[in-house]
Subunit: 381 residues, 2 copies
Amino acid sequence: MSRVHLAPSAARKGVRSAKPALPLDVILKGDCVAAMEQLPEKSVDMIFADPPYNLQLEGALHRPDQSKVDACDDHWDQFGSFAHYDAFTRAWLLAARRVLKPNGTIWVIGSYHNIFRVGASLQDLGYWILNDVVWRKTNPMPNFRGRRFQNAHETMIWASRDQKAKGYTFNYESMKAANDDVQMRSDWLFPICNGGERLKDEDGAKVHPTQKPEALLARVLMSASKPGDVVLDPFFGTGTTGAVARRLGRHFIGIEREQAYIDAATARIDAVEPHDGKSLTLVAGKRAQPRVAFLSLIEAGLLEPGTELTDPKRRWTATVQADGSLCEGGEQASIHRTGARVQGLDACNGWTFWHFDDAGTLKPIDALRQIVRDRMAAAGG
Amino acid sequence: MSRVHLAPSAARKGVRSAKPALPLDVILKGDCVAAMEQLPEKSVDMIFADPPYNLQLEGALHRPDQSKVDACDDHWDQFGSFAHYDAFTRAWLLAARRVLKPNGTIWVIGSYHNIFRVGASLQDLGYWILNDVVWRKTNPMPNFRGRRFQNAHETMIWASRDQKAKGYTFNYESMKAANDDVQMRSDWLFPICNGGERLKDEDGAKVHPTQKPEALLARVLMSASKPGDVVLDPFFGTGTTGAVARRLGRHFIGIEREQAYIDAATARIDAVEPHDGKSLTLVAGKRAQPRVAFLSLIEAGLLEPGTELTDPKRRWTATVQADGSLCEGGEQASIHRTGARVQGLDACNGWTFWHFDDAGTLKPIDALRQIVRDRMAAAGG
DNA sequence: TGTCGCACTGAATCGATAT
DNA sequence: GATATCGATTCAGTGCGAC
């Protein structure tokens, strides 16, 4: 196993006499289980892991414009069966648990393909789940075939080493302060990693298929670690964990098998300018006006299916359907499409066009949307 | 096992001759595994399950070998109780899978305490996960001790019976129309069940500790079932699933052990006023409409053989043949194959690609298909 | 230099029917 | 059951070039 030392200044100042054998601010090349077994036990404060998701993709997927989706079909994501994946998962979780300090915590991110197996293995091995945290994506990939809900989130599990470990780090007050003085919730809103943050090679191709956004890691590290802590990432990839750790004054240990990822991570982390802890601010992550589905008005009981809606001049009438569409002249479509159709226009804002009768006066359904927005406001975007 | 019949009018009109043994709109009293084993196999369209996750509610804590677990101190005892929960989970998921139609789907809701075990068991038993859907609570209970993030969501898993089952119900067009004409995402925002909806006893105490909001069930049923479908809830509780099913024109089968819950559910469901059937129709996407052969347009006189068709940018031209094919560059094939070939693509929707000249403006031949469909509908299908 | 339009992209378990 | 054909389907954003 070879070591790639990084960020020498950070490494120098961070060497701890109590744990002389623990390499800091380095990337260890090799298999993560073998690498973790070489580390001293009970030595790291936090583990962040983004393991392979075990996606089981059959054929190619095309967008409606017939372009091909660049799938994550890398060899490291191929497992023969759930049993193989479980064995892999237990092995690295076990090695991770040995390395973790008694009061340390672990974060694992995944999707529905793998997260249930990861969560069950965590529990089986004695970890104690503290929260599951949902990363809601502001800009997820659509479901191109229209056969499912848009897969708009991923799940992180946050767990302590065991049930009785009560001294784990959780910066409750700073999370609350960063969240308009209310408790930080278990659902976080962040964009996916793209634009200038996304690492590209000379050809403009993405270096790593699943690079995570730094904002996500920043909240993880800010909420559940302290300055000077050691954060281990056994699936280091292109080093988002390392870059954020260095920026936030934490030490990192990365483990990665692919030299190309190590090279990219090395350059990336070396370019990071560490901040002092005081200048750190959290991304609020709220959006100006969260979307409210017309269906929500019906689900909330503000509109009954069968209700008749009209335009302000009562020229047209349409019936509210239980599925959140409008029915007019035998045709059934959204509030917007129906409003456009009756007027013979290409587009229409159904929220302001359609009105309901409130004790003799016409009011736009937008007023009901505002009621829903007010009720939902506490939850943020 | 006793049966409590409910909503007699709905039950009468809903009896299906094809499945005489399937009780509809009833609550079956007893253990859900035993009750499901009494139902005919492959008989229900959807299952919604809100299983208990508090291990204490599962009776005395026993390992699978029936040895008693005296304390949950170390992680092996944890594993023992998790194994017990897994056995319980597998038992009811297996019985549920037998009752489910081949194209049926199951929804299971849970929190981080149990959802990972449920999800892994679903996968182990052959279910195929379609989405995990996050219920974001507008008004979750705070974390009183300030040691964790506010637990502000629960997770639902939506799965088909098998990987191969592609014909499951998903009302994609309804959901999209109901959500400002963009796809419905996997994160849903709803308030928790309180206020007038929350069932209380004479003393003002909650009848059931985990009553789910009707709005949540309404979106589940509206997105993934059709009017007239049979929805089974093996952990019926106070009957949210039944109440919403009745309101939305779906049949329900509830299974519940506690008489107090059955009594509350019975009264609650009897008081539900079903929506008018006309307001329950779903948005009909193209997939739901009858297929029309391109030849039919020619036979109907809407297109003359010899007519020239072009793409929207007039880059290519093809000639309509009398046999319902297109001719371009000396080659003759279907509208789809020809469109794909001229663009150098694998696939193409000829209906939207090819246009005809209507007094100077290009219109897609899909418009002519709609005329044929309208005529077919007017003629009574 | 500002605006507009077009091309491109992201952890994706993404048919149905007739022969 | 396997094969062939029909034909249905995308959101939020970045970046570049045209004008």
